[in-house]
Structures are given as structure tokens and as C-alpha cells.
């Protein structure tokens, strides 16, 4: 199993999980637009299905919020 973090929360995944699988699982109830970065690097939407997650990856999923 892989240990990684999603928005700083520890999660475990089976090896070879793709990013879009993770997102489908974790964001199923969310109706907000979002974007993803892995280890501080932006991942465009078109690559979600091509990216396999790795041990220790730090995944950020961000959505609109208030700002000044």
C-alpha cells in the first residue's frame, strides 16, 4: 500500500492508483470546480487519467474561496 497525503490528510492507496481514481473516490460529493497539484506542481485536468500516484506524494485539491 502507498502512503500519501491529500490536502495534508494521510491516506493510503493501493499501488498503481491513478489520480482520477483517487479524485473520483474522494470528491464524489463535491460540486465545486477544483484544480490539482502534486508535490507543489500543477497537474492539468487532461492528465488525471495518466498519472499514477507514488509513495509520499503530497496532493492538493483546491477550489474557489474568498480573496482580497
Amino acid at each position: 500500500m502507498l502512503s500519501l497525503t491529500l490536502n495534508s490528510q494521510p491516506i493510503t492507496l493501493s499501488p498503481n492508483t491513478l489520480l482520477d481514481q483517487l479524485l473520483a473516490q474522494y470528491l464524489e460529493n463535491i460540486d465545486l470546480p477544483f484544480a490539482v497539484a502534486i508535490n507543489g506542481v500543477f497537474v492539468p485536468r487532461q492528465q488525471y487519467s495518466k498519472i499514477a500516484l507514488n509513495q509520499g506524494d503530497s496532493i492538493e485539491v483546491l477550489s474557489p474561496n474568498v480573496g482580497g
Binding site: 490536502n7 470528491l27 463535491i30 460540486d31 465545486l32 470546480p33 477544483f34 484544480a35 490539482v36 497539484a37 507543489g40 506542481v41 500543477f42 492539468p44 485536468r45 492538493e60 485539491v61 483546491l62 477550489s63 474557489p64 474561496n65 474568498v66 480573496g67 482580497g68
Partner: protein, 258 residues
């Protein structure tokens, strides 16, 4: 009311407004309406219930969105945040903040130029939140910025324009650029003053959101930018050191004649 050009948009209002710090989303929505602003700033954060409600309100407001990179302390962070914002909001506009100091929240001139350079090459329309440093501004222009957003004062201080001399210098030296005072304004008169100096607009958040009555304060700032712009266009009288009567001296009765 006349229009102006901000990047690829034709706008009427010269007020850009933030979406943070309001007592409630309802008051935010009313304040933005009252302000007349056509551009609103937003951020990217992890999902939350509040974020969901905000998003619904934001869509309903139907304003032009200017995402920021608030909270970034390096060019790399700001670039990643900008790239994510472009995808989320479907806009190549980015309010570029690279903070150089925790206490003053002032822009980092070095990181800012680096991030702006990269983002412009990637096709962004960069709105850099910068200091009033002329040389920094020249560098930003050299890497392709067409818009500059120097601070009036540190974010959230409400001090107004702490260095009008520097701001006047920027306006004089960059007659063709779009210049917007971003941050530090506290009162409508500060916004009017910025416009009177020839700045194209102002961007603010705290002064409205944290007023006792944000909706009314939004109205105040709406009028302030109209007041200042009209003053600038109409040509403000030069300051004089000697008093000059307005009522005519000709035709005065004899008892006023000496």
C-alpha cells in the same frame, strides 16, 4: 459614464473589489452589488462548506473574476497557484502576489519579477501586486506586464496613500500603462485621491468588508472612484499659496471699495 479598458475587457467601474472578510455572504453579495464593481478578486483554498456557498454566490453575481495568489511566498508557489486558478476559473487573469514579509505582507520584488516573467510567457495577463518602487515597476514592464498594481499602504492597514510622491512618479513615467492602487486604502477619500493622481482604478477589500456597514461603504467607494476620475479628467486646479477672492471685487459698494 465613460468606459475604460482593463486588459481585454471594457469596463465602466474603476473599482475592483475583494470577496473576503465580510460578515456574511449575503452582505458580501449586497456590497459587491452596491459597489458597482465589475471585477472581483477570489482565491483558491481547500474545499469547505463555506467555499461551496461562496461559489454559488459568486456565480450568481456574474462578475469578471480576478483570482489571486494570496499567501504565496515564492515565485514557484505563485506560479503553481496561478496555473491552478486558470483551470478552475477559466481565466488567464491573475492577481500576482508574492509576499516578501510576514508582518508587512509586502510584495517581494525579486520573486515577483521572476513569477511575472514565467506567467507572461505562459499566456497569463498578470496583475502584479507590487510596491511603488519605480525600478521594480520597470522590471515588471520589461518582462511584459501591461498592468501594475502598486500598494497604497500595507494590506489591511487603511492608511491610504502613504507615499503619493512615488505614486505620482509612477504615473508620470508610465503614461501608457494601466495603473491600479491595490491595498492599504481605508476611506473613500483615499480612493478619490488615487484616481485624481491619474491612476486607472483601485482594488480594495478590507475597508469595505470591515466597515460597520459594508454595503453603504461600498456605495461610498463607488462614488469615490467616480469623483476622483471626474476630478482627474476635469483638471484639478493648481494649489496656490496666496488666497484669491471668488466673489468679484468689481462693482463693490463704496464701503467695500478700499
Amino acid at each position: 459614464m465613460s468606459t475604460w479598458q482593463l486588459a481585454d475587457q471594457v469596463l465602466t467601474s474603476r473599482l475592483l473589489i475583494g470577496t473576503a472578510l465580510y460578515p456574511s455572504l449575503d452582505i458580501m453579495q449586497q456590497s459587491i452589488q452596491a459597489s458597482g464593481a465589475e471585477v472581483v478578486t477570489v482565491s483558491l483554498r481547500r474545499q469547505s462548506t463555506a467555499g461551496q456557498s461562496f461559489w454559488n454566490e459568486l456565480k450568481a453575481l456574474n462578475r469578471r473574476i480576478l483570482p489571486n495568489t494570496a499567501g504565496c511566498y515564492s515565485a514557484k508557489e505563485a506560479i503553481t497557484t496561478a496555473q491552478m486558478a486558470r483551470e478552475v476559473f477559466g481565466t488567464h487573469w491573475i492577481k500576482l502576489e508574492v509576499i516578501g514579509d510576514d508582518y508587512t505582507l509586502q510584495p517581494d520584488p525579486f520573486g515577483l519579477v521572476e513569477a511575472a516573467s514565467t506567467l507572461i510567457k505562459e499566456g497569463f495577463e498578470v496583475f502584479p501586486y507590487c510596491t511603488d518602487d519605480l525600478v521594480l515597476c520597470q522590471r515588471l514592464v520589461e518582462v511584459g506586464c501591461r498592468i501594475l498594481m502598486p500598494w497604497g499602504a500595507p494590506i489591511g492597514t487603511g492608511k491610504g496613500l502613504i507615499n503619493p510622491y512615488a505614486l505620482k512618479t509612477l504615473r508620470a513615467r508610465f503614461p501608457e500603462l494601466t495603473l491600479i492602487v491595490d491595498a492599504g486604502l481605508g476611506a473613500p477619500s483615499h480612493a478619490a485621491q488615487a484616481l485624481e493622481l491619474g491612476f486607472d482604478g483601485v482594488l480594495l477589500n478590507t475597508a469595505i468588508a470591515q466597515a460597520h456597514n459594508p454595503v453603504q461603504m461600498a456605495t461610498g467607494f463607488k462614488y469615490a472612484v467616480q469623483a476622483g476620475r471626474a476630478g482627474f479628467e476635469a483638471g484639478i486646479m493648481p494649489e496656490r499659496d496666496l488666497a484669491q477672492p471668488s466673489t468679484p471685487v468689481l462693482g463693490k459698494p463704496f464701503w467695500l471699495a478700499n
